[in-house]
Symmetry: C2
Subunit: 357 residues, 2 copies
């Protein structure tokens, strides 16, 4: 690959290993379905790695993404965001008619809307909020959950599949033990909702969970029917900091040309800014924002070595990244060299650097 500007490079061997590791753990947990989230890579090519591992059911985070993957032969897709009623035409034409489609609601009103507007049947999940406080009905609001469940039962176009949550608050954990606690709590709360609905006559509901930190940290997936992690295929610096992966598991980087070299202040400037990496950062133990770590790619930019010591992307403007480094490292770098930036958040970097049709 001849790289001249900021370009996503994927170590497909590492990505395949990440997929295999997650798949193995899931298969050891008994009858649990692996429905990986494809929002991280948004790539039909990476999709084929999953297909090679036997995956046939996937998760996406937008109707547009669902249509893209449906166009690449995926025919069992959950759109794991609440239904956007303004997209009902696309949902009908490009998705519900063509594939086995899963949708999410968190109100009786939206369920009624779907019953009125859907032209083809879909699988419906109630989005449950187990603590993240983004979307979903809070897990202990029994009346609201029951009202929504009843609306689904009254909707011939909706097959009530179960309860779905995303424990995104696992990203706020400060240790892997805390991440495990988020998992435990999530499973307890989801099962409480399922038990409650079962008492009310709603039988056979599934539980679907999924976030990369908990899915990476726990050993087994007990108490759930489906897991939907996404980020794990690439991982990133944030996941490393959380303890969800090791740096050597990171499978995606941004290859960026060096355009400025400032030995006087031990800084390099790369062509690679907020429009390539995203402005996501982690805060290191010194309180410094880290927008990415830096490694040396091999000559074909197919992989890269370990991250360079005391070297990180410290600031980003639209097209520029400023790398703070050491006099040792800077001595060996010249303008025109390519560095591999391990992103703070691979989903956002991959989105920015993906090739658009």
């Amino acid at each position: 690959m001849k790289i001249t500007r900021p370009t996503l490079i994927v170590d497909e061997k590492k990505a395949a290993e990440n997929i295999e590791r997650m798949k193995r753990k899931i298969s050891l947990s008994g009858n649990v379905r692996f429905r990986p989230h494809f929002k991280t890579h948004q790539s039909s090519r990476i999709g084929e790695l999953f297909r090679g591992a036997g995956v046939t059911k996937i998760t996406v985070s937008s109707v547009t993404m669902a249509a893209y993957f449906a166009g690449h032969g995926w025919n069992d897709i959950t759109v794991a965001v609440l239904v956007n009623p303004l997209e009902i035409e696309t949902i009908n034409e490009l998705l519900a008619r063509e594939i086995n489609l899963g949708l999410l609601v968190d109100s009786a009103e939206m369920t009624a809307f779907l019953e009125e507007k859907l032209e083809y049947p879909v699988n419906l999940w109630i989005k449950i909020d187990t603590g993240y406080r983004r979307t979903g009905i809070e897990w202990d609001r029994e009346e609201e959950i029951l009202r929504t469940a009843a609306a689904i039962k009254n909707s011939p176009k909706s097959l009530f599949r179960g309860l779905l949550t995303h424990s995104g608050h696992s990203y706020h954990a400060s240790s892997t033990a805390e991440i495990s606690e988020v998992y435990e709590e999530t499973v307890i709360r989801m099962n409480a909702v399922r038990d409650f609905l079962s008492e009310k006559g709603f039988e056979g509901l599934e539980i679907s969970i999924g976030d990369t930190p908990t899915c990476s940290v726990v050993d087994r997936f007990d108490g759930v029917d489906e897991v939907r992690p996404g980020n794990f295929v690439y991982y990133d610096v944030m996941q490393t900091a959380l303890g969800a992966c090791k740096e050597e598991n990171i499978a995606a980087a941004a290859a960026c040309p060096v355009i400025g070299r400032y030995p006087g202040r031990n800084e390099l400037v790369i062509y690679g800014g907020a429009v390539h990496l995203s402005k996501e950062f982690i805060t290191d133990r010194n309180g410094q924002r880290v927008f990415g770590l830096v490694a040396l790619p091999d000559s074909s930019c197919a992989t890269w070595g370990g991250s360079i010591k005391n070297t990180y992307v410290a600031a980003l403007s639209q097209e520029h990244g400023i790398i703070k480094t050491t006099d040792t490292f800077i001595r060996g770098v010249k303008v025109g060299d390519i560095l591999a930036v391990l992103p703070a958040h691979s989903c956002l970097t991959a989105n920015l650097l993906r090739e658009r049709g």
Copy 2:
């Protein structure tokens, strides 16, 4: 415009007013050239607003962007980032051969590289660092500046146009007075470099500056030959916070559908996340991160009203935005409504939401 998903909406009347206001101020400053930065909008359509205001010379921040605008009839373009040597082929084929091209260097080495590799003549500027500490030769490093100037003089393919800086540290100012001070200091330092080079026999050099905060705040552009602001065409919440504009000058917003409504915690969730708005934020006086303000669009989404009180985008994940608001406002909003998000940083939002060919 029928909007169903996160979409950039531009109030073209406001954008035209922003262009006209900047143009008028520049023309009142005597013989100063307006070379607006097109990285903010990256849009041939908005480019036409500038053309309508008499603009013929532009700035961009990448070779790709230069090629895009060259393809839309712009034939005098400065690529205001340091030359990336890996793109020399594109520079030759798509730019230097076709248009009146300006490039930036901050070393004698890169100047020599260009002399060796360029197939057509270009205008060359020395990038000077007047305090931002991103790229450029620090303004008081006379020897390095002289060495680079001499290299340009020795390069028949390079027409030495002058000295160029970007005082991006104006974004760190805490008052408009401080922004004005950045301008004053920039002009003093740039003129010191020009005078020094003039003494050494380099005559007729121009000074080019440009950053939206200083260009918005100062009354006149004395002591410079060219100004290159970009963000001012749209402005944004960050510029409002800096005092560089009023909220009513903001000319771009992200129209986002409401997909979740949580009156219990006075929050709305929009389909509109980090991949639409970018993760750029400002920190308000309460220490809260603000990823955008919220306004109501008119029925055609051609413009919007004033921002809603005590209402802001408080968190973003990949596709979701969480809006914190009041019980008064939430009462009037329903799922499926469209809200206009005034972005923290319009350049990044416009980049994410621009239509790609």
